[in-house]
Symmetry: C2
Subunit: 408 residues, 2 copies
């Protein structure tokens, strides 16, 4: 019997009516003869409310207790979806992370799954019961509740699909698949039928919110066939799969991702002899990623300004840490600028194209958009620009890289 994992996001479970609709989708797979594991997010908005409770109480909160609070939303939807399935005559039961258990690291709020014990789950699945698993949650080895970071239910789904050797992992969401750019920004954005793991990984890492980055990485390593599709429409969605499967049909450039959730920090008048790696290490030691680093040397040659981005959610912690180290690094001022956007072109086509960055810079220069910093990998080219220019930049690049839906 083949096993299918279905994951429903918060917008697909936002009301009791939507939960009943999700139950009908599960019923379809059960009636097709599949063993079904369902992974649920919290009702849309719930987790945000819970996060606000915690951050209203304190800025430097205990992440273990944060996890206790924010993981509760998935418990509710797991129970409600199990009840909806029972109403349809489908045997079902809910599972919390600690009941399976889904063991994770103890790195609260950002935990990584290290082992899923499938014995209890399989025992129930083999009786013909649908397992409805609360996503996002795990159990640390010392018995505390952990969470996998925002969007972590995707990772729960993929990890279960890998552990159960599922035929497919379907991620149901409020869009119809993966797009060449955010369709809320770019009306000509087109849906992709297929995308390679590696390219999806960069899209997710660079700001596309459809899938959590960790989930794509896990799917890639475990060759989980991942499908992103709408919970409300019967369209095939986007298949995320290995590059070999795609070579025939794949496009050179997959899409344009963007992120508005970063803040640029600038340390002014640092001694030019300071190894900038020390700054990166300091922030990384507290799990704050530093990205888009760039520097400007003073005419005298002995001083420089060093700028970089951090996630907006980590800004306060980053600033506190840097101020504490002010004497050590010997900078004059710390500037912050939240009017920044990171726009990234993703695709293996970047490797074969002649000077891909040249085309990008030329386009943005023609539009009068200043590029503040650049970062590149084999299949990604990111620029940092002013946030208020983002819409125009994305739309222009979408056309230049021939992604507009008319031209597909």
């Amino acid at each position: 019997m083949t096993c299918i994992v279905q994951k429903f996001g918060g917008t697909s479970l936002a009301t009791l009516d939507l939960i009943k609709k999700a139950a009908l989708r599960v019923k379809g797979e059960v009636e097709a003869g599949h063993t079904v594991v369902v992974v649920v997010s919290a009702m849309a908005g719930t987790t945000n409310t819970l996060v606000e409770y915690v951050s209203d109480l304190s800025t430097t909160y205990d992440r273990a207790e944060y996890d206790v609070v924010v993981s509760s939303g998935e418990q509710v939807t797991a129970g409600l979806l199990a009840l909806s399935l029972q109403n349809l005559g489908i045997p079902a039961r809910s599972w919390q992370g600690w009941q399976i258990p889904i063991y994770t690291s103890s790195h609260h709020a950002q935990a990584k799954i290290d082992h899923i014990d499938t014995d209890l789950l399989l025992h129930d699945l083999n009786k013909g019961t649908v397992a409805v698993v609360a996503g996002f949650q795990g159990l640390s080895r010392n018995g505390r509740i952990t969470t996998l970071g925002r969007g972590g239910s995707d990772t729960t789904a993929v990890a279960l699909a890998a552990a159960l050797k599922a035929e497919r992992c379907d991620i149901f969401t409020d869009v119809e698949g993966i797009y060449t750019a955010d369709p809320n920004y770019i009306t000509t954005a087109g849906k992709l039928d297929h995308i390679a793991y590696q390219e999806m990984l960069e899209l997710a890492a660079q700001g596309a919110k459809v899938l959590q980055r960790d989930s794509v990485e896990l799917a890639m390593h475990n060759r989980v066939r991942l499908r992103v599709l709408s919970s409300l429409r019967d369209t095939p969605g986007t298949l995320v799969t290995s590059e070999n499967e795609l070579r025939a049909t794949r496009k050179h450039i997959s899409g344009i991702a963007h992120s508005l959730s970063h803040v640029k920090l600038t340390l002014c008048a640092l001694p030019s002899t300071l190894p900038l790696e020390e700054i990166r290490s300091l922030l990384n030691s507290q799990n704050i990623p530093l990205d888009m680093g760039h520097q400007k040397l003073f005419p005298c040659g002995t001083l420089l300004d060093f700028s970089f981005t951090v996630p907006a959610t980590e800004e306060r912690r980053a600033v506190e840490m840097l101020q504490t180290a002010k004497n050590k690094f010997n900078f004059r001022d710390l500037l912050r600028n939240s009017d920044v956007a990171k726009v990234s072109v993703i695709g293996s086509g970047l490797q074969t194209e002649y000077s891909p960055s040249h085309k990008l810079f030329q386009t943005l220069r023609e539009k009068g958009i200043e590029v503040q910093a650049v970062a590149a990998s084999d299949i990604k080219l990111s620029v940092l620009i002013a946030a208020h220019e983002a819409g125009r930049a994305i739309s222009t690049l979408h056309t230049v890289y021939q992604l507009d839906a008319e031209e597909n």
Copy 2:
């Protein structure tokens, strides 16, 4: 070191500000040198919302999944109160029922605690950490989440106080203690300084909502010193304790309880040969309690009407079961009447008083209030009357039994 258990109800934790106020109360006990265990309810309103989700999905729901859904509110407040304590510099951590564990029966939605494993909890308490325990929840022996019935956090608190041999169990709520009658109804209701377990038990059983009945029973059996007091005012509250402690100071009649949450069912024209115990057994077999039973014989002598009350929450199930058994019991009609109130006079003074029911009936007759049924125990005398007469009846009895605050 003495251990104190403090329990905060939903109205005492309804907002972040109230949670911070609760944290200050806990801090007071910590600074007084006590080992403190805190038990929390869900934020006021949360559990009702969750119960509505479940009952909107289905009337005959799986109680195991009901427990999964409705137990989530306490998880949130446990985490938030632990965070608030940490903000005050008090080491604290949250505990879910399954983490301790608090083992219960598998009787979902109405589970009974059968054993609390205190090892992990004591290990943490001995390090000087405050334990913030999610009330209402437990773990069945087969690893499912259970709940203890509405108001079950009181029972969690008392059970922990018993297991930890706590010096005292303080129940913080939105009223200042136990009153001679519901102060929302009777403006002359007075607060009791003391009440005996047995009398408190009857008050709770007969409708007083301040303490869950099970919690009083557990306190009585384990001689837990229970105190009910306001979370917002610094008043001593009411001490619930054993009769010996009270003999000197205790009043003859403790108070008047009432319940508007019952429905009267009448089976019409039953054969008078039918053992009425069969009807009680049928309902009890599905955990539906039958109360205030009374019958009226037809002039012919071969038929009778049998009336009784069931909790309004169980009405639908009771009616379904009785309709199914219509041929067996051979009744003509099933009438329902939700305009009923149960009013109870509670107190050991009833034993010593000459014909206590006589005074009650006389008073109600003088006021033109019809008594539909009567039930009595050593320390309780209950009457069933029309709901719209309840306020007048309670107020009259409150005066007749000399409970008005002016006369105390």
